[in-house]
């Protein structure tokens, strides 16, 4: 007998409906799956066979032919266990559905018939809604995530047996419900508050400017100066996620299998801090047969923190250039092309020199000039060029730490950032970008109204500090954000003056005043 159940194949963030066709026919014990299954799906034969038997159903002795259609999409993962088992039971007459056909079922089976959570439930639910499926059947731990999609009922079941009984109408299961807006509001108090950091006011200020304009930031300072502590507090001063953003973040995290069992909406901005041993693939995404999202996409709408930037592999760092510029990553493989969004704020930290003491008045730096230069060139010019704010973070000794007051709470800073962001949204409305950091040359010219005094200051700064034309643009962009924080429409000399100081890596280490010319 022939039966059909819908499953789902994930390709990147997109889910494709796959029809699982099962034919139980004459023959002797063959169990074949066709339709571009990967090795993982072939393994599901073992799980399905045992799960059916251990759920007190009978596994047919005849030949079973399974076709996954459309046959031109590469299919992988364990989510086909449940639709396959249901289709076999229906084909052998052990399941007589009382509910409408055309539903989507996904889930991994364990040998005893229990259902395990799978990745990508949110995408699967979206696809099911779009094709107007009557309902979807998901493992219980994924139900709250699937319920984020309005317009399709998501039923969570814990085992194959429960799934069968639900479909036959003999078990009562209620569709899962969550209130996305409610989840979004439930942000709690951030555990990491700026008020916990004593001193370092200039670095905190730079962090505020970075948050307000969506600028990337590099902190240069000796070990123990609090760079990581500061970076961890950036998500807390960014505006809260919008529902649209939260859903997008959840979708990426879901595809990567990072939404915890029973979890639902990712309501806080992600903070990703991959170790410096990470590969280029780990950073931007990739893998076979289907490319998975990398750290740049997992940090979408949040912060990617790279501690000790110089220790990362050169090719891994260089691979960041495209996602930083395009704010998305397109991974092309022989069979598929996948695009993941990657609009993240980059925060990086590094030591000023290999020994860490360059510029420290209490320690002598023992590095040679050549060592320092080699160390600094590990971060390439093109990458540095994409980091608008570069600040030096000095180390404070115990006495200084005690002297310094605690700063403002994150909530106060976040309020100012929010106002500055709203100003930008209004000004940039319709231009396709949302923050000052994303502005190109043309937009800079229309949005950056500089006072006469400011113009002459910039001219002098370019001459005295030897800034290049590109540095000029970067400084102008940051000055726009500084002015937004001050609520000023025209960029004044005080805003430009502050912005000019956020370019410490463009200065030469050991020559007076003028910067090292950059190629």
């Amino acid at each position: 007998m022939l039966s059909k159940v819908f499953g789902s194949a994930l390709v990147g963030m997109e889910s494709h409906t796959v029809q699982v066709e099962v034919d139980v026919t004459r023959g002797f014990g063959a169990f074949e799956i066709v339709g571009l299954p990967d090795a993982g799906i072939r393994e599901s034969r073992i799980r399905v066979k045992s799960a059916i038997r251990n759920s007190c159903y009978e596994f047919p002795g005849q030949s079973i032919h399974v076709n996954l259609s459309p046959a031109d999409i590469k299919k992988g993962g364990p989510s086909f266990d449940l639709p396959l088992a249901l289709a076999i039971l229906e084909a052998t007459g052990q399941l007589r559905p009382a509910r409408p056909r055309g539903y989507t079922a996904v889930g991994e089976l364990s040998l005893d018939g229990q259902l395990r959570e799978i990745a990508g439930t949110l995408s699967i639910a979206i696809e099911a809604r779009d094709r107007e499926a009557p309902f979807i059947l998901v493992p219980e731990g994924n139900a709250r995530e699937a319920a984020l999609v309005t317009g399709v009922d998501a039923y969570g079941v814990s085992s194959l047996r429960e799934a069968v009984r639900f479909l036959e109408g003999s078990a009562q299961v209620n569709p899962a419900t969550v209130d996305a807006a409610d989840l979004l509001g439930d942000n709690g108090t951030p555990a990491e508050d700026l008020a916990q950091v004593r001193g370092q006011e200039p670095a905190k200020r730079a962090l505020e400017v970075a948050a307000a304009g969506g600028h990337n930031m590099l902190m240069v300072g000796p070990p123990g100066s609090g760079k990581t502590m500061l970076a961890r507090r950036l998500p807390g001063i960014l505006p809260p996620l919008s529902l649209e953003e939260a859903l997008e973040v959840t979708r990426i995290h879901s595809v990567a299998g990072l939404v915890p069992r029973g979890g639902s909406l990712v309501s806080r901005r992600p903070f990703r801090a991959p170790h410096n041993s990470i590969s280029a693939v780990g950073l931007v995404g990739g893998g076979v047969p289907l490319p998975r999202p990398g750290e740049v996409s997992l940090a979408h709408c949040g912060v990617l923190y790279l501690d000790e930037l110089t220790l990362y592999q050169r090719n891994a760092l260089e691979s960041l250039r495209v996602p930083l510029e395009d704010r998305k990553v397109t991974l092309v493989r022989s069979m598929v092309t996948v695009t993941y969004p990657s609009r993240f704020g980059l925060v990086a930290s590094m030591n000023p020199c290999p020994c860490g003491y360059l510029g420290d008045p209490r320690h002598e730096c023992i590095c040679s000039l050549g060592e320092i230069q080699r160390y600094r060139t590990r971060v390439s010019g093109p990458l540095l060029d994409r980091i608008d704010i570069q600040v030096e973070v000095p180390r404070l000794n115990r006495r200084q730490l005690q002297e310094r007051s605690r700063g403002e709470a994150s909530s106060l800073v976040a309020a100012r950032v929010q106002v500055a962001r709203e100003l930008q949204e209004e000004r940039l409305h319709g231009s396709g970008v949302h923050s000052n950091a994303e502005m190109g040359r043309a937009l800079l010219e229309t949005t950056c109204n500089v006072s006469a005094e400011g113009e002459s200051f910039l001219g002098m700064a370019v001459e005295r500090l030897g800034f290049s034309a590109r540095t000029y643009d970067r400084a102008l962009k940051v000055a726009r954000t500084v002015a937004d924080l001050a609520g000023a429409d025209v960029i004044g000399v005080e805003h430009l003056a502050e912005a000019v100081q956020y370019r410490c890596m463009e200065r030469s280490v050991f020559s007076s005043g003028a910067a090292r010319p950059r190629v």
Binding site: E201, P202, E364, E403
Partner: protein, 371 residues
């Protein structure tokens, strides 16, 4: 004049032979008495060209095919002047040392400096203090008409050249590579500046890449062409101390700028002072020592005090705090009670106006004079 021209051509030709370095050519010249004699010996196959007879034959073949005049012409057409010992543009003092270079390659303006010549040398990895002192001293010397010599390296050398150029002075950079090779590479703009307002010289033929052993030889030229050597900042192992050794053995004045006793960058200079070098605290100290009367407009400590009064109240608060020993925006904002944004903004304007300079670690330092 004809003689001088052919002498240049023969010297250049000798240097162009494979395996013939400065040292080898020097030996040939000593052996055969003159460039013409040495060149003739090579052409005859008599001159020993390193190890093995095969090489001799190679030199002989090569020298017969080579035209010294054409070689010289191709070098000179590249804007490089060849200066031979005894020739008009050869630095007079340099000719007096124990082993003066037979010839020099020169780019830029050549003039025989009429006044005094002072070398300003020091650490490549200088502190902001050292850079500022070098710039200030060289500027003061230049405005008194003194010819400033240094080595075009990072740090003190670069600051000294820039200081002299800023005052419209004549400055010479002595190189440890060919005069057409930019080293360090990021000093290209400085090279162009020096070439248009001063000159670049070196004893290595065009195209020679820098090598470790070139620099002590280069230092001998720096010391040799100067009346006095001023060391701005030097650690105990600094190459600047090699320049000092040459200066001492040639009987030139040695002066040093005192520095902090804990700073390793000043250990060399402080030791020089302890051993009898003249301490330098302003450009006048140098001028007095070499017997040049300074002009009125040389920057001095008084002028710094003047700027304190010109600056606004916020600037003055920050300048006071910086001279009180604080140097980064973190400490300055904590001390003065100004907000971080304001502190950074005011410091930035002060930097662009030339009141302070910003060094490694985001530390601000006072500048002696307005730039």
């Amino acid at each position: 004049m004809q003689d001088l021209q052919s002498e240049k051509a023969e010297l250049v030709a000798l240097l162009s032979l494979p395996g013939a370095g400065i040292k080898k050519v020097g030996e040939l010249l000593t052996l055969y008495g003159s460039p013409a004699g040495a060149w003739e010996a090579v052409r005859r196959g008599a001159a020993a060209g390193g190890a093995g007879a095969g090489k001799n034959a190679g030199w002989r073949e090569l020298s017969r095919r080579l035209s010294p005049d054409e070689l010289l012409g191709s070098i000179e057409s590249g804007g490089i002047t060849v200066v031979v010992r005894g020739g008009p543009a050869y630095p007079a003092l340099l000719g007096e040392i124990h082993d003066p270079p037979w010839m020099l390659f020169l780019r830029g303006r050549h003039r025989t400096p009429a006044g005094a010549t002072v070398a300003v040398v020091g650490s490549r990895k200088a502190t902001p203090y050292g850079l500022e002192v070098a710039r200030w001293l060289a500027g003061g010397l230049a405005s008194a008409g003194v010819h400033v010599v240094s080595g075009a390296a990072y740090g003190v050398d670069t600051a000294a050249h820039k200081g002299a150029l800023a005052e419209g002075g004549f400055t010479t950079a002595v190189l440890g590579c060919g005069v057409d090779v930019v080293y360090p590479r990021s000093n290209g703009a400085l090279y162009r500046d020096i070439e248009s307002k001063g000159c670049l010289i070196g004893e290595y033929p065009p195209g020679t890449q820098p090598a470790r052993h070139h620099f002590p030889a280069r230092n001998r030229i720096i010391a040799g062409m100067s009346d006095a050597v001023v060391v701005v900042e030097a650690s105990e192992k600094s190459g600047a101390l090699i320049t000092v050794d040459f200066a001492l053995s040639e009987g030139r004045d040695v002066m040093a700028v005192p520095g902090g006793v804990f700073s390793s960058n000043s250990r060399g200079t402080n030791a020089l002072i302890r051993n009898g070098a003249v301490p330098v605290t302003c450009p006048e100290d140098i001028l007095k020592e070499i017997g040049v009367s300074g002009e009125e407009n040389i920057g001095s400590a008084e002028q710094t005090a003047l700027q304190f009064r010109e600056a606004g109240p916020k600037e003055r608060t920050l300048l006071d705090a910086i001279s009180g020993g604080l140097s980064d925006a973190e400490g300055l904002s904590g001390k003065t009670g100004m907000s971080a944004a304001e502190t950074v903004s005011v410091l930035s304007r002060m930097e662009v106006e030339g009141l302070v300079t910003r060094g490694p670690g985001g530390r601000y330092h006072l500048l002696a004079t307005r730039r």
